[in-house]
Symmetry: D2
Subunit: 254 residues, 4 copies
């Protein structure tokens, strides 16, 4: 498998130093390890070992969609962590063909993940009031070809959700309680509402509203990810850890 | 949306008591709350409220694929938790169209989740030495119509993986280190190996082998899920918690 | 070292079955493993191996004060966990000679731990409105000889703390915010207020009050204890875990 | 209560900026907030508000012993965290009057905590092979007047423990398994061995040895401390967290 124009490529130096670049004819990429020209990479085979102008070796590898999202997307907002995005997808029953409403779009990280999973027949309707975020998200998703599975809506989701009978509504916003009723109206029976909020106060207020509106099978949880440093005879958890990202609330329309 | 013959249906009594059943003409279902006959349910609309023969009310709701998997699948082995399955899917870059190798099949819980996500054009090749588990998994997946995205292989994956150029290899077995080399051979460049193991010793031995074989971007982590009891003025984590399921190792073929 | 009349003794059968008893002439103790008579134990040496009337072997061991507290105290309330009690003691600067106010007494578990640490010159003033709890706690502490380091007060601490210039105030009660001002008045400069509360709402309300009253160096934290099952080649965390006990708030009077 | 020559004093600017100093006639202390002269502080009352030469206000507060240890001790080694030190003290049954063996001394943080708790009649025997660490620890403990409850031993604890019938042995060293037998010989019946180790491999090796030597009531656990940012309507755990310090093993001599 060769590197083609426009491919995202991992330049792998070592476990701590690796970069995701987009190979574009004529482009040059500068790192601490030296300069790499796109022309040296194009046509090369994934897995091959090359050198920077300083003679430092690196390998070419194909990135996953998540490498690209988390390394190449521009971000102007807090972005969802993989652990949280993953559970949102799974517990909301989102899969190929799903119709999903999301708000707010933010930098589009979660939008991209949702789009990747609902392909090719599903669609993500994403609501964002701030035009500049929506444009950023659109640019990010266009870069990886995921924009065609998304309808970008520069609208305030608090004023209502246009789509009906959707499979899931995913809310990653500061005040989801104002949207819970619209979510209920928009969802099909058995459809899932998933909310992500950073504080315990938002957790409480959201869960309360969700219950009041008539959702059932309400679950609230948080995920802690603990990384390990693994080497023979010296295995232990990493000393530093992300102690908190946010709380997840899942609920079902009966 | 009405309940049809063969549908999986949630009979929802309250947040602690709800059941997933398969609606089949003539069937009767007994619960602590009373008996429900399938004929009372067929043709009814999701969201409707009905009563058992004891007069206890319940609502009809459509389950997610995960409700069905975790409530209706027969299990004869330890099964993967949603938090772990979700991260495996996401960090392995698995999506619609992916070609994935899995071993061992066990009761087929993870197989079903993988199949659901790779639909309709992807495929899951699942290896299992024990015929009785493979048959159980096949029956489980057939029940939800996911068997057609899966190739069930009654083979020992330690003797080699037949498929080449696959996108991901997922190992949920006691001794994954014996398969790491086969996984490397089977994966395409940039393909992901994901392993799930319960003990720190397996974690260490697997990660060591993975490094030795030439995988890169090796990550080891565990996820802790903390559930919350949320009610106004009394919000706190649940007193009881699943303290451990297993460790996850992710690695990339360069 | 021999077993004397009135000693607390551990009868150790195995890692899962062991009991703390008080050796009293003429007493008989019944377990699943058989009956043991106090007279068989009195005068025996710690470390010795004996048998029940069923011939099952056990060892005699001296308990720690904590074995006795957590196994022999009668309890009619939620009791503090060792992890929380330990951090309260340390972060409050409590040691031999400290003068400590505690409320409420409850079953006296924390009272006993505090008394044990402030011995022989310190004193614990413990407030409890419910006479029956105070009596229970007094009986518990008398059983281990710790009552003489404690002043038991059947008073509502919300009406004020009688003692002045104390080193620490420890509040394990549902509404500590009503006592924060009294704690401030009671503490010496540099004295520590420690509160233990189960819910996030109490955490927030207490911390807010503590700040308002003028305390400084305010810290809020929770401790999670994760037990391990350790055996060669099969080491892993326990599957079940206490997911939550409560939140700790520490603050200093400037 | 006034500030006297030689007192440790907290100069409190705000929740993020506070310092522990030792008030010595003629000394001057420089901070980002300006210079403070000891002569301005001596004779002042705790709780009073003063100003630096830049006019920035601070309060005088009395530190706890732990403020002094964690802020004023010189450190040349990894030091024990309060959460771990606290549980070691409590679960080992250490209190006023206890006779405790500790190895290795390191910078003396745990030694100081143990000394503080065993006062005035107990004693800590601390073993350290590296003379420079022992001297550092001695200087640290002398600074707070805790050296008189400690016997500093420049000996290799692997060659044996001189003391007999001790109440607890606390091992904070890389290879505690070589000392487990000596600990057994040194402890009284019912005495507690507590070990602190950073890796899972040490955990396994230590626990195995402890079991082999004949200890009982063996427990292995780790503590996770999660700090909270508490403010009205915005309460949540801190984003950053110490993900790991080490594993604790407790065992009892029967």
């Amino acid at each position: 498998m060769d590197v083609h124009e426009g491919d995202f490529v991992v330049l792998y130096f070592n476990e701590r130093r690796w970069y995701v670049i987009k190979a574009r004819k004529g482009a040059r990429y500068s790192f601490n390890e030296g300069v790499v020209s796109a022309d040296d990479i194009l046509g090369k085979t994934y897995g091959e070992t090359l050198k920077t102008h300083l003679g430092i070796e690196f390998k070419l590898a194909k990135p996953t969609i998540y490498d690209i999202i988390y390394n190449s997307f521009k971000r102007r907002t807090q972005v969802v962590y993989p652990k949280d995005a993953a559970l949102i997808v799974l517990k909301s029953g989102i899969g190929p063909g799903s119709r999903v409403v999301e708000a707010g779009t933010g930098s589009g990280f979660l939008t991209a993940i949702l789009a990747y999973i609902v392909r090719p027949n599903g669609v993500v309707y994403t609501y964002e009031t701030r035009k500049e975020f929506l444009d950023l998200a659109k640019a990010n998703l266009t870069m990886i070809g995921m924009d065609r599975f998304v309808v970008f809506k520069n609208k305030d989701v608090k004023e209502g959700i246009d789509e009906l009978g959707v499979d899931a509504v995913v809310l990653d916003m500061a005040d989801p309680w104002d949207v819970v009723q619209h979510a209920f109206a928009s969802l099909r029976s058995g459809g899932v509402l998933a909310c992500f909020v950073p504080t315990v106060n938002q957790l409480e207020k959201t869960a309360e509203k969700v219950r009041e509106i008539g959702f059932v099978l309400i679950e609230a949880e948080e995920l802690l990810s603990r990384k390990y440093k693994v080497s023979r005879g010296e295995t232990r958890p990493e000393m530093r850890m992300v102690g908190h990202t946010g709380y997840l609330i899942f609920a079902r329309k009966p």
